[in-house]
Symmetry: C2
Subunit: 236 residues, 2 copies
């Protein structure tokens, strides 16, 4: 496995949601890089896998600065990717782990882009993971979409007008990062009479995970970072 | 685990893509129901898991008629759900397995709906699976979406006008079931100058899986049922 770069998705909390391939990969690589936010000093991905990996020496914490300044974000990502690249260049195999899936709204894609640019002969393997959308639906036993229904995944609700257009086109709409989108989403759901058609999944897979169909619950409550909302035009 | 109904996603081909929880669930249940299409007489889900489960006696094949007639489809689904319900009522635990994820465009959601209606006290647990979208992206090491990008999953491209509206709103557009959508998709990609921005993943996880960035390849080739296309407005 020398000099190979792996992106490994570790699901959303329950270590049972790791795939067999993810476990095997993490056991076999020389180093496992886990992203750590400078805000929280903890790595959710590391918490999920630490019990599965006997050799704790192979964990490397990579700090990511959570900043709204693009230049700071980029600098932080560059430093992390450089660290990975150094390990690869020393002939080691390296896995970068992410919660959820590595290629769906994940830091891994930034690492991958840089490492491929610097080192275009490097072998890369991505091991997919259970993402928060399907994990939340599973906890709720809720079909996201069937047959000819179409599904929208919205990370950024650009405006009320934008979201109205989305609802005109899609049977199922999933709003990620509800904390930053709630204020724009709320009036649209009210206007379209869809307030009763939602499930909100907060921190799916965490010990304090929370599910509600009551969109008004968050009028006065702080919304955790890892919160998503599923809206079905035909009802929940 | 008596009298409990499980929906278990088994990923897209490589049995390494099963989660630890999926394997444990399948080992512990009394019966494992695998969907079989009357067209092909084979069950992809069964092929994926048959090597993992020692006790082959617990597999039950449920036939699903592939028909364009809604009444025939519905009859076939009802018969399958009745069979599962009978097993549950005899006090057994039953898993229904599906390729991909059980709640994203899967037959499990029809089973779940009927069984919950007939038997509203039944305990249900859904075990999420790796779906064909993230599995295809992983094979291609392609980031589906990052940051504030939005993603559309289109099962039915209703019309060229519809798809143009989708591209006006979304950075990433994933077209499922390309065989039935290709003729509508092609002229839109041509018009929007997006023909170079696609990856097509056919039968991801199968032995004859196939990937191409050439949308014209399928002008004269038959498109397999399990084929999807990823389009990124900013390029692949």
């Amino acid at each position: 496995m020398a000099k190979k770069f792996y992106g490994v998705g570790v699901g959303v909390g329950d270590s049972g949601l790791l795939t067999l391939k993810a476990v095997e990969t993490l056991k076999n690589v020389d180093y496992i890089c886990t992203p750590v936010s400078t805000n929280s000093d903890s790595s959710r991905a590391l918490e999920i896998i630490s019990n599965l990996i006997a050799d704790q020496e192979k964990f490397i914490r990579l700090e990511f600065k959570m900043s709204k300044k693009k230049s700071e974000l980029e600098k932080s990502r560059c430093q992390a990717a450089e660290k990975i690249n150094d390990l690869l260049n020393s002939g080691k195999s390296v896995a970068f782990v992410t919660i959820g899936d590595p290629l769906l709204y994940s830091t891994y894609s930034y690492m991958l882009e840089k490492i491929k640019k610097w080192n275009n002969e490097i072998e890369v393997e991505t091991v997919p993971g259970i993402n928060s959308i399907t994990a939340s639906a599973a906890k709720y036993n809720l079909a996201l979409a069937e047959g000819k229904e179409n599904t929208a995944i919205i990370s950024d609700v650009k405006s009320e007008e934008y979201l109205e257009k989305v609802f005109a086109l899609f049977e199922t709409v999933i709003i990620l990062k509800l904390s930053r989108n709630y204020k724009t989403v709320y009036p649209v759901l009210d206007k379209l009479d869809l307030k009763k058609n939602v499930v909100i999944a907060s921190k799916c897979g965490f010990e304090d995970e929370f599910y509600t169909e009551d969109i008004d619950y968050f009028k006065d409550e702080k919304i955790a970072y890892l919160t998503l909302m599923i809206v079905k035009r035909e009802g929940i």
